[in-house]
């Protein structure tokens, strides 16, 4: 009897192991490799569903299997590192700009002679080095200070306001006046503060350590006539401080509490009309509009003024940190399948419609449709009005560690546990140190 039980058990164990192994191998070799397949490791959780739908549509049309997996910012690099070593590696992945590219260059297929590259409206949207095209930007995004039109109109109409129309906000001083008056009369407007909380939780700190830090950096580059640097000077750091103080002192929460505030906190405050201003970008529209939130036509966007001379002509911050790269170590069939898929995405009716209307992207391709995103429309109008867009130079920041150092210094300064000079040290000296570390 015992013998039989033992036999039975061992058979069961062996079987379950083979079954497990079977499952694993099925996943690996599930599709026909002769015709190629596409595996896209995607970066934007907001657009996961849309990509899944688009992949399905493509498979239905052509029979080529497309897998889309989303790994959010923060986990993207580590997921990619793991996935790329597998036999079934992503054929299509993303890098965030020149700094991200440095790591992944050996894995980037040269896209120079592809239809995708031909479709670009301008070669400046490609990540190039010499004659090699490593990556292609597929979405152009814009950020600034998003505002609630209804609440701002209330301010303009109020008897105590000193600025009466939107065109009265044209530089840092006029904007600061509006902010301070709103904060003073927050009870009259029924709000908790002029600005949403400037949360320094990791879900929100990139808005300040990266996006806001872009402003002083951009003006320094413009002044020095450069596009990147090994040692930053910090010429406009005082302006950075002024704006940061404005954000902190006129917000929904006291400045001492920002360390634990999250991205969702700020999003909710803005969506429920508790604050007028919210520094974020075109990607944030879906999160703040909808049932019980704002309507799309209530949203407006202003440039981030930091008090630099001539800033009346400054527009919004526009650029890209999303570049498509094709895995050069994938099989030839898979590479071809991926290139075909991308061409289809940017040229076919289904693809361009999905990009413009469902993902609400502005894409730099010739056949692109106009995005339905309300903030994108405002951004386009500003460019037509002759405002100069601010470039996304934060893609030249030396490393994540540098950003973290700046972020920590911003938090400590806000709480009063640190000095502004720590930020200057982290910003200027940290740049040099990190640049050397990264560039060997």
């Amino acid at each position: 009897m015992k013998k039989r039980i033992a036999l039975l058990l061992s058979i069961l164990l062996t079987l379950s192991l083979t079954a497990l192994a079977g499952c694993a191998s099925k996943q690996d070799g599930g599709s026909d490799s002769s015709s190629g397949k596409v595996y896209y490791l995607q970066f934007k959780p907001e657009q996961d569903q849309q990509w899944q739908d688009l992949a399905k549509a493509y498979t239905k049309e052509t029979g080529v299997p497309v897998t889309v997996v989303t790994a959010a910012e923060g986990t993207y690099e580590s997921t990619l590192k793991n996935e790329i070593t597998k036999s079934n590696a992503p054929t299509l992945f993303q890098v965030n700009g020149p700094v991200g590219l440095a790591n992944w260059k050996p894995y980037c297929y040269n896209l120079k002679n592809t239809a995708l590259y031909q479709q670009l409206t301008s070669p400046e949207f490609a990540l190039k080095e010499g004659d090699t095209v490593y990556g292609i930007a597929y979405v152009i995004e814009t950020y600034g200070i998003i505002y609630n039109k209804t609440l701002l109109q209330k301010y303009f109409d109020a008897s105590w306001s000193s600025i009466k129309a939107l065109n009265g906000i044209k530089d840092y001083n006029t904007f600061a006046t509006v902010v301070r008056e709103i904060q003073q009369h927050k009870k009259d407007l029924g709000i908790a503060g002029a600005f949403t909380s400037s949360g320094m939780d990791s879900s929100s700190d990139w808005r300040f350590k990266t996006h806001l830090a872009n402003m002083p950096l951009y003006y320094e580059y413009v002044k020095d006539g450069i596009t990147s640097t090994a040692a930053v000077k910090g010429t406009y750091l005082d302006n950075y401080r002024t704006v940061w103080d404005l954000y902190l002192d006129n917000a929904t929460v006291p400045r001492t509490q920002i360390a634990s505030k999250t991205g969702t906190d700020a999003e909710t405050e803005f969506a429920t009309g508790k604050a007028v201003f919210y520094q974020n970008g075109t990607w944030a529209v879906n999160a703040v509009t909808g049932d019980g939130k704002l309507s799309a036509d209530e949203l407006g966007i202003l440039p981030i003024y930091i008090g630099v001379e001539g800033e009346e002509k400054q527009g919004l911050c526009t650029g890209s940190e999303n570049y498509w790269c094709v895995n050069s170590k994938a099989s030839k069939a898979d590479i071809q399948a991926t290139l075909d898929f991308l061409e289809w995405v940017v040229t076919s009716d289904t693809g361009t419609t999905a990009l413009a209307e469902e993902m609400e992207f502005t894409v730099p391709f010739k056949k692109a449709k106009e995005s339905v995103n309300p903030l994108v429309k405002i951004a386009d109008q500003m460019i037509k009005d002759g405002k100069t867009p601010v470039k996304w130079v934060f893609s030249t920041m030396p490393s994540e560690a540098w950003k973290n150092g700046v972020g920590a210094a911003l938090t400590a300064y806000a709480q009063g546990t640190g000095q502004w000079k720590d930020l200057e040290t982290a910003f200027i000296n940290g740049w040099k140190t990190e640049y050397q570390k990264v560039h060997g």
Binding site: K2, A259, S260, E400, N404, I428, G430, V438, G440
Partner: protein, 313 residues
């Protein structure tokens, strides 16, 4: 073979020695089947990655299949990293505090609950419960609690290294005291009644009984608990990552780099791995090998010393 043939021959009578042999056989014969799945899992999930990890610590790599040998360079850079050395100190201090705190508290809770107190079973269950919650969840719960409390005074966990440190101590103690308590209770229940009675008859005070009779008798429990808390605390990651996710505040150094002042050693290694520039993964790998060696040495030393005490007791 001879055995089997003999068994098959109907004429052969079943004698007791043969029977005994037969009873042993199934286990022997199928041992390999029982052994294989575990061995395979152990090799796949532990041994192979571990050996590969040691190899990688001598390499510069970005993806684990694409590594170049660079010798001891990673170890040199790891030991030059002030943040790593700081985290080492942070973890060491944290371990010291929690080992003492948890063991003393757990022992006295166990001691109290082995007296005849009403509802001691209820207390035991309640004290044990925090241990059932995972580290990440616990970390977040305590983050909300502590930030809520500190918020009343206009500050937060991120404002001071001390808050992050003592918050972590509080959390870990709260989680582990219940578990260690159970071990101490079982130890205390094994103290022979005759010895306690003898002590009582000899007129020992309860303090003397505790010191001279009970504690020497529960030495094995002390060994186990010290060993568990020591390695738990030194390897702590989840709770730290959830309680102070950014390891704020940072100490900004003169060269603009920074030290994350509330990062345990494990957190420092993971953060290093996630820094995402070429070469950083190798340093992280070297750090984790160093970390492994230190944990092994501490654990062995500790085992050696407590064993010695047990023998002399």
């Amino acid at each position: 073979m001879a055995d089997r043939n003999a068994a098959l021959t109907p004429a052969a009578p079943l004698t007791p020695p043969k029977k005994r042999k037969k009873a042993k056989q199934p286990l022997k014969r199928y041992a390999v089947f029982f052994f294989l799945p575990t061995a395979a899992a152990f090799t796949l999930a532990f041994l192979a990655p571990f050996l590969w990890g040691i190899f990688l610590s001598f390499c510069e790599f970005f993806t684990i299949t694409d590594a170049t040998w660079i010798g001891l360079d990673n170890y040199r850079r790891a030991l030059q990293d002030v943040g790593f050395l700081y985290s080492f100190g942070f973890s060491a201090l944290f371990t010291l505090v929690t080992v003492v705190l948890i063991n003393v508290a757990a022992f006295f809770v166990a001691y109290a609950l082995t007296r005849k107190i009403r509802g001691s079973n209820l207390f035991r269950t309640v004290f044990f419960m925090p241990n059932l919650i995972g580290g990440i969840v616990l970390g977040f719960i305590w983050q909300i609690l502590l930030n809520g409390l500190l918020g009343l005074y206009g500050t937060s966990l991120a404002a001071s290294t001390a808050y992050g440190f003592w918050g972590l101590v509080l959390l870990t103690a709260w989680q582990q005291i219940g578990y260690m308590m159970i071990i101490y209770i079982s130890g205390l229940q094994n103290v022979p009644h005759t010895m306690l009675e003898a002590a009582k008859i000899d007129g020992a005070t309860s303090w003397q009984t505790l010191r001279k009779v009970i504690i020497p008798q529960v030495r094995p429990s002390i060994t186990i608990c010290t060993f568990l808390t020591l390695t738990n605390s030194f390897k702590l990651y989840d709770q730290n990552a959830a309680l102070t996710p950014n390891s704020l505040p940072y100490k900004i150094l003169e060269d603009g780099s920074h030290i994350k002042t509330t990062a345990t050693i494990a957190k420092n290694i993971v953060d290093q791995f996630n820094e995402n520039y070429f070469g950083t993964d190798g340093i992280a790998q070297a750090k984790s090998i160093l970390f492994f060696l230190v944990v092994v040495v501490i654990a062995l030393l500790q085992l050696y010393f407590t064993r010695k005490k047990e023998e002399s007791a």
